[in-house]
Symmetry: C2
Subunit: 215 residues, 2 copies
């Protein structure tokens, strides 16, 4: 046997100013966009200056934003929804379907998840009994190996995607700073011109008044 003591420990545990002119296609974003096979929009901002490509998509995969789950985790849905995922499993709702794989389990170091499978769930125990696939069969190994490769590939992709998103965020942030600065400059310039113009206007009014009085 084995003892399971479930603990519930919840310890808390540059460059220069601006000067604009920079309006390239934004290398990082290019990659970022291409990293999303789903959709991909490189909508030109409009007539004026182009800039951070508006890629209207994100927060896509992850199976509808963390909705259901499938593998081992059984019914922690409610928890997932909330903020307290982790924490020991209920220790009672471990489906552990173990699709009737005959298996001579000649494993050596790999996992050995939980275990108590022969017990629990007297109901719907071996309802499906998918083709009992021997874990020794060459086919099984072939499938496993292929899946392992796919998994590595998928995770690699995910990592790159995450990295790109981070870089993109950083880039957008920088661009934002520049734009803010630019706005500041324009605003100031505008204020100056408005002031000048108001002065001229007053001047013109005085001149006009003088002219009228001289008639």
């Amino acid at each position: 046997m084995t003892v399971f003591s479930l603990h519930i420990n919840s310890d808390a545990s540059g460059p220069d100013p601006v000067q604009m002119s920079d309006s390239r296609p934004s290398s990082v974003i290019q990659e970022w966009v291409s990293s999303y096979p789903g959709q991909a929009h490189l909508t030109p901002v409009g007539p004026g200056q182009s800039s951070a490509q508006l890629a209207q998509m994100d927060v896509i995969p992850y199976s509808q934003s963390q909705g259901m789950m499938r593998g081992g985790g059984e019914d922690r849905l409610a928890e997932q929804m909330m903020g307290l995922s982790y924490l020991p499993y209920s220790a009672s709702c471990l489906g552990n379907a173990s699709n009737s794989v005959s298996s001579t389990h000649h494993q050596s170091h790999g996992g050995s998840q939980q275990d108590f499978s022969p017990f629990l769930l007297p109901t719907l125990k071996a309802p499906v009994t998918k083709r009992s696939i021997s874990k020794d069969s060459a086919e099984y190994r072939l499938r496993r190996e292929r899946n392992n490769i796919a998994v590595r590939k998928s995770r690699d992709k995910a990592r790159r995607r995450i990295l790109l998103t981070q870089q993109r965020a950083l880039q957008l942030q920088e661009e934002n700073q520049k734009l803010q600065l630019r706005i500041g400059q324009l605003t100031q310039e505008l204020d100056t011109l408005k002031h000048i113009l108001s002065q001229r206007h007053l001047q013109g009014a005085e001149d006009g008044a003088a002219g009228e009085s001289s008639i």
Copy 2:
């Protein structure tokens, strides 16, 4: 052998543009910043309008941006550096240390990684031999369970972090659009004023010339 068919589907489709015109403290970013324990800079943009908090950090964890690796993966470093990670392992460099755990491996559905462990690596075989920890020992299970909880917690955290980064990128993107628009407006207004001013200037020059000639 296994065949790798890499698909490159890049269809498109996208939501609608944007509109709005706000410039709040950016709720998402607030969270995003707090999700990075490392540093956290909420540098106020300056005198003018505040906006996207400049959080100078990102692309941090992930062990120095995918540097070394530790667990099972042996020496696929070169590959990691390049773009072709996945692909079947050399099938020969599988350390499979299997820390001399006695274990009666009473697993049932859990993993059973690879297997061929007794073979390979005649060198540095049992150099360390850490305290042979029985996989049955209560202590072992205790450690495992605690680690499992930590793992779930950590992954949950990572997921939230990723989500926040995505939302942050999206938000920055929207803000960028608005700023671009604002710049367009200011620029146009400025052009108008400049034009008016140049007209006045000409007018003034003519008046001046007329005045002189009348003397």
